[in-house]
């Protein structure tokens, strides 16, 4: 899911209705619906929430409470390349922090931010990818790169980047 979502509001509303209809009969569908919305647009556009509330009968505050509780949901689009650096225990011991720092430095991602100013890269920490024997690892655009060091991570990120090296 890349960040270049330029969908017209009318189209968005139509998609939203389809998604709600798809999950219509499911009990407790709020989370699956929001997951489908994020899957569709790459993030959860805030402007859809009133309509979603009207369609499902779930209050806007309940929708926000779910969106802010679960770490999977985001209100902003991702960068073109999505990197998740594993910070599980094995990766932590093997130097995950250095890898995240090196990537952020390389792509100019400010402290507290996750996406580079040119929107080419989003770098996030994740709890555990479950590839502990290849630690430290990172996921990039659905590919997993393992046995990294800070230099190798930066090189790997550039080589696997969509639209060529930055």
């Amino acid at each position: 899911m890349s960040g270049k979502t330029m969908i017209k509001p009318a189209e968005m509303a139509k998609k939203l209705e389809e998604i709600v209809k798809d999950h219509g009969k499911m009990r407790g569908a709020a989370i699956p619906i929001l997951q489908s919305i994020q899957e569709e647009f790459g993030f959860v556009p805030k402007q859809l929430i009133p309509r979603l509330s009207a369609l499902t009968g779930i209050s806007q505050s309940d929708i926000y409470s779910i969106l802010t509780f679960y770490s999977q949901f985001r209100f902003e689009p991702l960068g073109e390349n999505y990197i998740q650096v594993c910070h599980g225990t094995a990766c932590h011991l093997a130097g995950a922090e250095e890898i995240t720092n090196a990537l952020k430095r390389e792509f100019g991602i400010e402290e507290g931010e996750t996406t580079s100013p040119d929107k080419k890269y989003t770098v996030e920490k994740v709890a555990c990818i479950g590839c502990c024997s290849l630690a430290p690892v990172m996921n990039m655009n659905e590919e997993t790169l393992g046995r990294l060091g800070p230099e190798k991570a930066v090189k790997g990120a550039k080589e696997n980047a969509k639209g060529g090296e930055s």
């Binding site: 009990r27 407790g28 569908a29 709020a30 989370i31 699956p32 929001l34 997951q35 779930i58 309940d62 409470s65 779910i66 509780f69 679960y70 770490s71 999977q72 949901f73 910070h87 599980g88 225990t89 094995a90 932590h92 011991l93 130097g95 250095e98 720092n101 090196a102 430095r105 994740v126 709890a127 555990c128 990818i129 479950g130 590839c131 502990c132 024997s133 290849l134 630690a135 690892v137 659905e142 997993t144 790169l145 393992g146 060091g149 800070p150 230099e151």
Partner: protein
Amino acid sequence: MSKIEIKVGSASCGIAAGANKMHEYLEEKLKGDSIDISKTGCIGMCFNEPLVEIKDDKGLYLYGGIDSEDKAQRLIDEHVEQNKPVEDFLVYSDVVETEDKDYIDKQERILLRNSGNIDPESIESYEKVGGYDGLKNVLEKMSADDVIGEVKEAGLRGRGGAGFPTHMKWNFTKIEDNYPKYVVCNADEGDPGAFMDRSVLEGDPHSLLEGMIIAGYAIGANEGYIYIRAEYPLAVKRLNIAIDDARKKGYLGKDIMGSGFDFDIYIREGAGAFVCGEETALLASIEGKRGSPIFKPPFPAQKGLWKQPTCINNVETLANVPRIFTDGAEAYSKLGTENSKGTKVFALAGKVKRGGLIEVPMGVTIKDIVYDIGGGIASGKEFKAVQIGGPSGGCIPASLQDTPVDYDSLTSLGAIMGSGGLLVTDEDTCMVDVAKFFLDFTAEESCGKCTFCRIGTHQMLEILDRITEGEGKEEDLDELEKLGGQISAGSLCGLGQTVPNPVLTTLKYFRNEYEAHVNEKRCPAKKCKELILYFIDEEKCTGCTRCKKVCPSDAIEGDKKEAHVIDTEKCIKCGLCISSCKFDAIEALSGEKELQKMNKGGER
């Protein structure tokens, strides 16, 4: 040419190491040779990934580190074409001795016997090894009470952490006279460092389904939910395939195998909240709410999903169930100890030579796992401790390595079996840092409902931050213990109650390390950034300028072919120079600041 079978280990870890490319290559090159090439789940020897297994009429040959087309081609040229095993890449075989033989031979693969053996995307492959036979036995011959009795006799205890007897949980749900009832599988494997459940889901998904159907039959439920981490896309994919196939074959749905019993299974993907591994939080999440735990009782067995009786078990527990009904309770309970029956799967990782997915009978010692199976410490340094049970678990020091791994022994040491992460540390690991790591994680993941958990964890974290920055005070250690006790006592759910465990166990067994940070402002493992300095050994430095080039803060000075020097004021301790140095000339020092300052680096 003899009949040959080739299997490529294609779980997430294998794929990450390049298994898919190797599989494609082998298929391409061996097209038309009528050789059976399949993708399997995790073969277990993750440290040797990617793995290719070749089975011929002489035996089984497991090749490791097959990460290039050249290597794959050699397997074809020599083993497949000329029937000559390629000894260079051989990591395990049942006919030839190998160095890593113990890794496999010291294990007992009951739960994992299919993982790495069958094609997880083929129901026929599962049936061929006795899949759904357990269910057949249950539906043909047994009453619900018989099933629960058999589980009791097998001595199965919950593999999710605390080890609650499975038959009791099932019985509590069964005796409720309120329908509908539900079976819920907790596949929200959120512990950093644990991936056993993922491997079962990716390598042998039908065994979970079969276990759930049997559980449903025993408690009188017609619906099951699998709550799975969204971070496991391959597991979700393979489960979906398995559920579809099981429906088509009549193992799921209406009137299963003509028995009159209806049961179906649905998947719910988690949305990234560690606390949802707690059963009441998990149920809230399935109901579409924030995952906040609620007070028990009533237990889920009485009022669970949508206030109906619900039996929640984790993946490993449920996937063990079919084994009990194919082999019988007696065979199952032969393995293990008096109070901990069967085997336990661990994700062995950290500083061991051989890490991966291992399955051992309960009661083996920590030492057996670290040395016989793990092959000892990779760096050749001292074995320091194992961290067992994830963020809720604890650290067990090397001095207690003869401890048997069973529920009760671990609990008595302040650790728990937990979900099965087993992390080995060596002398390069700072135990204060490890404790901080887990606390950082749990403080972030606290749902915020209980004050002690929400605020107490942050207070503990502040103290640990202070200690690792060299600002710790002596009374901090007592304060940590006090806070830890209060958080445990004042929290509603298992997350909050166990949050302090990593801190408390490291304080108990590695107090001297905390004291070195506090009193001597020194990190013995040389990990805590505020307490270390980087230093270039003039003797070893060749002046290759490599470190100087990679240094992001321009802290390294020195001409070509001259020994370099680090300006400790500018140095941000990012570690790039250490990882780039080919001559081992850069090291971290701690507690030797004065000595360091006498060098050129810090005299400013």
